[in-house]
Assembly symmetry: D4
C-alpha cells in the first residue's frame, strides 16, 4: 500500500497510524467542507483507528457529517451506515470541544484526569478531554479549582493522586500547574490558556510561568492546545502498554 495518499490539495501520511499508533488528525481551521470530507474519507478508508477533526465549528461539522453520511442528519441517531463502501461508525460532534470524530477507541486501563483552573479554561479542557477519550484514555475532568481558593484543590487531592497522568489547564498566571505538580507523582502536562487580559499577554505569561514552575518534571504544550496535551498522554499510555507487554513477556526483545 502506498504510504502517501495524494488528494491534490493535501497529501495524507497514511503510514502515521502504523508508525505512531494513530492516524493523522485533521486541523479544521482554514479548510473547506470539501477538503475536510475528502481527508476524512481517505483516513476512514485507508486507516483503521479513530479519525479526528479538531477546532471545527458546529456548522462546518454539520456540513461534513451530512456530506459523508447523507442519509443521517441527526447526530444522536446516526447509525453505522457504510460510506464509500467502507463500514465505519457514525460521526460524533462535541460542541464545547469543537471536535468531530469517527471510530473512537474504547476506553482502556489508563486513567487521565483533566484539571482546569477556572470557567474560561473549560473549552480548552473540553478539547483535551474529548480528544483523550476518543483515542481510548479513561478520562475524567475536574473544573474550577484555581489556586486562589486552595481548599477546592485540597478537596480533590485524592482524586488527583489516583490518576495515571494529569493535564492541567490554566490561563492567567498558570499557577495551578505548579501546585498540582507538587501534589502528585504521575506525569503532569500543563496547557497554558489565552484567557485573561493585559499582563496575560494572550497566554504567553502562563506558558512562561509554567516553564519556570518550581515543580520538577511538569511539561508544557502550546497555548490553548488541549489537543496536544491529549496526544502527549496518548504517547505515555501507548508506551506504558508497550513496556508492560515487554516486561511481562519472558525473553521478549524490543
Amino acid at each position: 500500500m502506498s504510504e502517501v495518499l495524494d488528494l491534490g490539495f493535501a497529501r495524507l501520511d497514511l503510514a502515521r497510524e502504523a508508525r505512531q499508533g494513530l492516524p493523522e488528525v485533521v486541523y479544521g481551521p482554514g479548510k473547506t467542507v470539501e477538503q475536510i470530507s475528502g481527508i476524512v474519507t481517505g483516513l476512514l478508508k485507508h486507516n483503521t483507528g479513530p479519525v479526528l477533526v479538531t477546532r471545527i465549528e458546529a456548522e462546518t461539522a454539520e456540513a461534513v457529517m451530512t456530506r459523508l453520511d447523507p442519509g443521517v442528519h441527526d447526530a444522536e441517531t446516526r447509525g453505522p451506515e457504510p460510506y464509500d463502501g467502507q463500514p465505519h461508525g457514525p460521526a460524533t460532534y462535541d460542541a464545547e470541544a469543537r471536535l468531530l470524530y469517527w471510530r473512537p477507541s474504547p476506553a482502556g486501563d489508563f486513567c487521565l484526569t483533566v484539571v482546569a483552573a477556572g470557567t474560561s479554561d473549560r473549552p480548552v479542557a473540553a478539547e483535551a478531554a474529548a480528544v483523550a477519550a476518543a483515542v481510548g484514555l479513561d478520562t475524567t475532568a475536574i473544573h474550577d479549582v484555581g489556586v486562589a481558593g486552595l481548599d477546592r484543590i485540597l478537596q480533590v487531592r485524592d482524586r488527583l493522586q489516583a490518576a495515571d497522568a494529569l493535564i492541567v489547564v490554566a490561563g492567567m498566571e498558570g499557577a495551578l500547574a505548579s501546585v498540582v505538580g507538587g501534589l502528585v507523582r504521575a506525569p503532569v502536562v500543563a496547557v497554558p490558556v489565552s484567557t485573561g487580559y493585559g499582563a496575560s499577554l494572550e497566554g504567553v505569561t502562563a506558558l512562561l510561568a509554567m516553564h519556570a514552575s518550581c515543580a520538577a518534571g511538569v511539561t508544557v504544550v502550546n497555548i490553548d492546545s488541549g489537543f496536544s496535551a491529549a496526544m502527549a498522554v496518548h504517547r505515555i499510555a501507548q508506551s506504558l502498554a508497550n513496556t508492560q507487554r515487554r516486561v511481562n513477556t519472558p525473553g521478549g526483545a524490543r
Copy 2:
C-alpha cells in the same frame, strides 16, 4: 528652612520627610563613599527620622561608617557618638539585606509578615524585612514555603492570616502570590525575583504572572525590589495610623 539641600553632586529633597513621613532613601549603586557619606550627613542633620542606604555592599558600607563615625570601627559596639555635632545613633549594616541605616524607628503596632518561596528569594526578602523593620513595622519572616510543597504553606496558614499586611517574595513562576492572596484578607504586596533561568526571563515572567494572578487585589512592585515593597507597606501602616487617629477623634476633620 530651604527644602532642597544642594550638595553639588546631588540635590536633597529635605521636605520629603514632612510630606511623606520618611526622609529620602539613598540608592547605593553607582555612588562613591564620599557621595553616600555626604548625603547621609545631610539627611541626619536636616531630617529626624530613619536614614537608609540600600543595595550597598559590605566594603562600601564599612567605608561609609568609618568616615561618618571615625572612632567606631566595629558595627556591634558602635555607640551613639555624635557626628558633625549632631547626636545620632550608631549605624547598622545588614549584610544579607545589603542595607545600611541610622536612627531606625521603634517597632509599632502594625504587623508585617514577609513570605518567601525558596532559598534564592532570601536576599530580596531580607531587604524587604530589614527596610520594613528600620521604618518601624513589626516584621517577621517565613521562608521556603514554595507552592510545590503545599503543606508547608498550609502549616503557616494561621500565621499568614494574622498579619496586618504581607509581602510575598517569589521568583520562577511567582505562584506563591496567588496562593497567599487567596488565603488572607489583608493587603498582599508581591515582589517578583530575578532568580531562575531560561523562561524566567530574569524576573519578567514572575512579574507578569503576578499581575495576571487569579487572586484579586494583590499588588506588585518592581523585580527584586524588597525595598519598594517595604515602602508600600509603610504607606499602608502610616495611613491606617492616620485613619485610626481621625476616627477616634470626635469631630476630627481630615
Copy 3:
C-alpha cells in the same frame, strides 16, 4: 455548610466571604446570562455581602436583572423584592463601569480617591470607583489631571493628600503614578490603561513605567484592572478594621 457550591458549569467558593471578607466576584466576559444568573443566585443565597458582576455589557446586565427580578424592569425603581425566597435588595447597573451589583456595603470610614490622567482613562477609573463604593469604601474621583498640565494636579494637591488611599489610573506613559506617589504619604495603587497607540503597546508601556517609577512604595495592578485596584484598597481598609478591633480589645491576642 458545604464550602463549595457545584453548579455544574462552575464550582463556587462559598468560603471566600468568611476567609477574605467578600464573596467571589463574577467576571462577566464569556459567561451566558444563564450562567451569570445562576452564580449570582447562589452567592446571594449562601453569602451575605455584596455580590458583583464585572465587565458586563448593558444588554447582558439587563437580561440578568430581568431573569432574577422578573417583576422589576426598571433599574431606578427596582425594589427589594425577594428572589428565590431570599430577601435581597435590588440590582444596580453602572454602565460606565460596566458593573452589576447587589447588596452594596454602606460607605465606611476609609476614604479612597481615584485619580485619572485623561478622558480615555475614565472607564477604568469608573470601574475602580464603582467597585470600591460597592464594597463600602468612601470613594471620590478626580479626572483629567494628566502631568502635561501640571497645574491641574497642583490644584488638587490638598485633596490628594487628604485621602486614606489613592488609585491612580493612567495610560500612555503612566507618569501620573510617579507624580502622585511623590506628593502623598498614603498608599498608591497604580492602574496602567491600554489606551494610546504605537509605543503604548496596549498598556504594557504604562505597566512597565509604573514599576520603574521613581516614587517609592507605589504598587501596580494589571492593565485596565480598575477592579483589582479597588480590591487592593478593600484589603487595606479591612486591615484597618482589623487593627482597630485588635487595638480596642484589651489583651486581644492575634
Copy 4:
C-alpha cells in the same frame, strides 16, 4: 515524623519522597558548601532514596564530598562508609552533567533514550542522562544527530523507536524535536538549549519553536533543563510501575 526539617537557612520538604517518589533535589547555584552539606545530610538521614545536587561546579562538589565523607578524598574509591551514623553509599560527581549524587537507584525496566542535536547540546543532554540514570531509568544517549544531516537520524531510527521515552535536546531552531516526534510513538520531552547566537535569543527561539512543533504530543520543559526533562520521564516511569501494580492486583481499587 515531622514532615518539614528546619535547617534555619532552609526548610526541607521531607514528605516529598513519600508523596512524589523522590526526595527534594538540591539546586546548587547560590548555595554555600555548608548549606549544600547540611541539606544533603538531612535528606540522607530522613529519606531513603537518591539524593541529588544539580548544577554544582567541580570545586564545590569536591568540597561537599570532603566535608561529608572526610576519610574519602577520591571519588573513584570512595567507599560505603557511614556518615552521621547513617549507612549511605559514596558520593559520585559527574563533571559534564555537573551532578553530585548519593544512593542512585538501580536501573529499572523503563528505557529512556536521550537524543542531542549538536556538540554544544552535550552538557544539557549529559545532565538529563545523569539525573535519569541516578533515579533508576535505563538510559542511553545518542549525540550529533542534527537535522541538517538527516541521514544521521535515519541511521538511528530503530533505536529511537525502541525507547520507552525520549528526551530531545536541541538549541538553535530546535527542529530535532519535530523530526523525532514524528518518527516515534513514545513520549517525547523536548529541551530547548541556550546555545546559538543572534536570532537564537538564548534558547527562547528553540522553546517557542518546539511548542509550535508540527509533531503532535511533544511536550517541552524549560531552557537548558536536562534535570526537568529527566524528572518528567521519572514521572512517566513511576506511572508505569503504578499501573502495573494496579493491573497485577486482582480487584485492586485505586
Copy 5:
C-alpha cells in the same frame, strides 16, 4: 525619457526595469481600483516587462481588469486587445496566489522548486510560485512535506536535489527549512508563515527559527512574503544570465 512618472497619488520608478530587470511591482492592499489601474497603465506603457499586482482580492482584481480591458470580462478568453493605444496582452488573475499580472515572461532555463510544509502554507507557496512563473522562472511546487512525516520528504529527495533553487514555505516551527537546507546544495530561500497559534507568535517564531537554523547558507525573507522569496530567486536567475553572457563573451570586461 523621464525616469519618474508622477501620477499625483504615486510616483512611479520607471527606471527600475532597466536597473533591476523588472518593473515596479504593485502592492495591492490599501490601494483603490483607480489607483491600481493608473499605476498598471503607466507601467504597461512605459516599461516592457511583466506587470504584477500582489495581494489583490478577487473583486478588486475583477474591477481593475474590467476598467483596463472594458471589452473583455472573462479572464479565460481575455485577448490581446490594446489598452490606451498600447498593445499589451490580457490580464491573468491567480486567486490562490492573489496575483494579477500582465505580460508574463516565458519560462527560462532556471528551475525553481517551491516546497511547502502543510496545507495552511499553500497560499504563501502559491504566491511564491505564481510570481516566480510570471517573471520567467521554470517553477514547480511540492506540497505537504512537513517534517513530522519524514518519509514524505525523503520520497521527493531527488526532485529537491534537481532544482536550481528552492523556496521553502513553512509556518509553526519552520523546521522544514533546516531539513531541506541540509539535503540540497542549491540556494534555499525560507519563507516563515504566520499560521499556527499561541507560541507561533504569528510567524515570528518561524522567522527566528529559520535564522537560527543549523543548515548553513539558508536565507530568510519576511513573514508570509512569497513575493519576496520569488524576487530573491529572480535575482539569482538574472545573475546566472549575466554570468553566462560574460563567460560567453571573449575578453568581456564587467
Copy 6:
C-alpha cells in the same frame, strides 16, 4: 578636494562639514588609539570645525592626546602647538562626559538647558552638555529634578521656560519628559537612560514611555545617547542661523 579620505581602516566623509555643518564625529568604542589618532588627524587637517571623539575612556584619551601632541602631556597646559604641520588648538578631555575634542566652537546665541532626573542620569546628561557646548551651544544643566519631588521642578520652572531648547535626560519611567514637555513651549528632546533595574528593561521602558508621552511634540533619541540629543539641538540652532540669514537678506530666495 576629494570628498572621501581613505585611511585603509576607515573612509572619512570629509564633505559632511560642508553638507551638515559639522565634521564627522568619531565613536570611540572598538577603535584603537592608532585608528582614533589617524581619523582625528585627518579631520583636523581636512575640515575646519570642532573634532569630537565620544565614549572614550580616560586612558585611551590620554594615549591619543600624547600621540597627537607629543610635547604636551598635561591637558590643562596643552598649548596650540601644530601637529602634522597643521595649527590646531589643544585637546580637551571631559571625563564625566567621556568626550575628547579639539577646536570647540565659541558659544553662540542659542540657549540649551539640559535637565536630568536623578544622580544616575548624570553621565548621559554630561555627554549631552559637553557635546552641545563643544559645537557652540550656550549650555547650562539642571540636575536632580525627578518628578517624585515635584517642588524641585517647580522651583526651576522659570529657568526651563527661558531656554531655546531643552534636553531631558531620565531613566526609570522617564516621566520627567512629559512634565517638562508640558511646562515649556520650546523644543524638548528626551533621552531615555539605561539605569534602573527589573522593569526598566535597560532603558527600553523609558524609551517607550517617552514616546507614549502625553505632552505633544516631545521627540526622543536613542537610549543613553546624550550625543544624539546634542546633535538634534545643533540642527535646530543651525536652522535658526539659516532662517536669520534668509530673513535678513532682502529678496533672498531659497
Copy 7:
C-alpha cells in the same frame, strides 16, 4: 480667568495656549459628538488660536460641524457665522489627514517639508502636513521617495536641503530617516508608520530602526503620530521666532 474649564466629562487646560503657544488639541477617538462639540466650543470661546480635532472620521466630523454651525451644511461654503455668540471662522475637515479644525494660523516664515517613503505612508504624512499648516508652518510635501529607488531622493535633494525642518514619514524598515538625516543640516523628525506586515511588527521595527539610525541628531516620535511630529516642529518654529526676536532686540533679557 480660571485656568481650568470643567465640562463634567473633561477638564480643559485653558492656560495651555498662554503657556505653550497653542490651545489643547482634541484627540478624537473614543469621544462622542457631544463631547467633541463641547470641548471645541470651550476652546473657541476661551482661547484665541487654532482649535484642532485629530483622528476624527468623516461622519463624526460632519456631525460636529453641523452641531456647532447648524446653518452651514457644506464644508466648502461654510461661512464665518458665530456660534454661541462667539465670532469664529468656519470649520475645515481634511479627510485624508482626518483633521477637523477652526481658526488656522496664517502661514509664517518657517518652511517645513514633509517627506514620505511610500504610498501607504500618505495618511500619516497628510496628518503631519495638515496639522503643521493649521498651526502656521509653511508646509510642503514630497511623496514616494523610498530608498529602494535612490534616484527619486536625489532628484529632490535641493528641496530637502532648503527646508528649515523636515518630517520624514516611513514604515517598513524606516531607512528614509537615515538617508534624509545624512543629506540635510536642518532638524529631522522621523515618524515610524505601522504599515508593512510580518517583521514590521506594526511600526515597532521602524521605530527602533529610526532610533538606531546612523544619522546623528535625527529625533523620533510615536508610531503613526504625524500630529506629534508637527507639534515638534511647531515647538522649533516658535523657539526660533523667539530667539530671533531676542537676538534682534538690543539688551533684550530672556
Copy 8:
C-alpha cells in the same frame, strides 16, 4: 566508505561534501584544541575540499596549527608537509575574520562583493569575505559606505552593479541593505550586525528592519553571521555553475 565518522565527542557527517559541495564547517566556540584538531584531521583525511574552523581566537588557532603541523610554527612559512600521512597544504589563520582553514579552493568565475556600512561592521564583513574566498568565490570588499553619507555609496555604484552577488553587512538600523538592494539586480544577502546600543537591541533591530526592507528580493541571514552569508552565496555560485553546465550540454538531463 562509512558516511559518519564517530570521534566519540562528535559524529562527522562525511557525506556532506558529496551532498552539498563542501565538507562540514567547524564552529569553534566551546570546543577544545583537542576536539578541533581531531575534527579537522578527520575532515582533511576523509574529504577533499576546504576545511574551515570559524570564530576561533588566535591562541586556540595557533595551538591547533601547532598540534596538526608540529614542524611548522609560523603561519607565513608553513609548508605543504603531510599530516597523518595525508598530503594537505598549510593552515592559514585570518585574525580579523577569526577563521582558520586548510586547502582553500582557487578563486572561480563568480564575483562576490562584500559591502559594509561602518567600522564596527568590519569583523563580520571580514568573516564573510574570508569564508567566501576560502570556498572559491572571487571576493572583494567595500567598507564604510553607510547611508548617512550617501555620496560614498553613489561613488561605488558601478562596482556594486558589476558583482554577481552582494553581501551587505550593517548594524544599527541596517538601512544599507535596502539602499543596495534597490541599486543592483544581483542577489543581495543581508547580514545584521549586533553593534550599536540601546534601540539596536543587539542586532535584532537590524534583522527586523532588513526583513521589512522596501527593496524586493533581499534575503537575510542570522545576526553577525558572515559565515552564513558566504555559504548562501556559495550555494548560488554552485547552482549557477551547475545550471550553466546543464544548459551548455546539448540534451543534458538534470
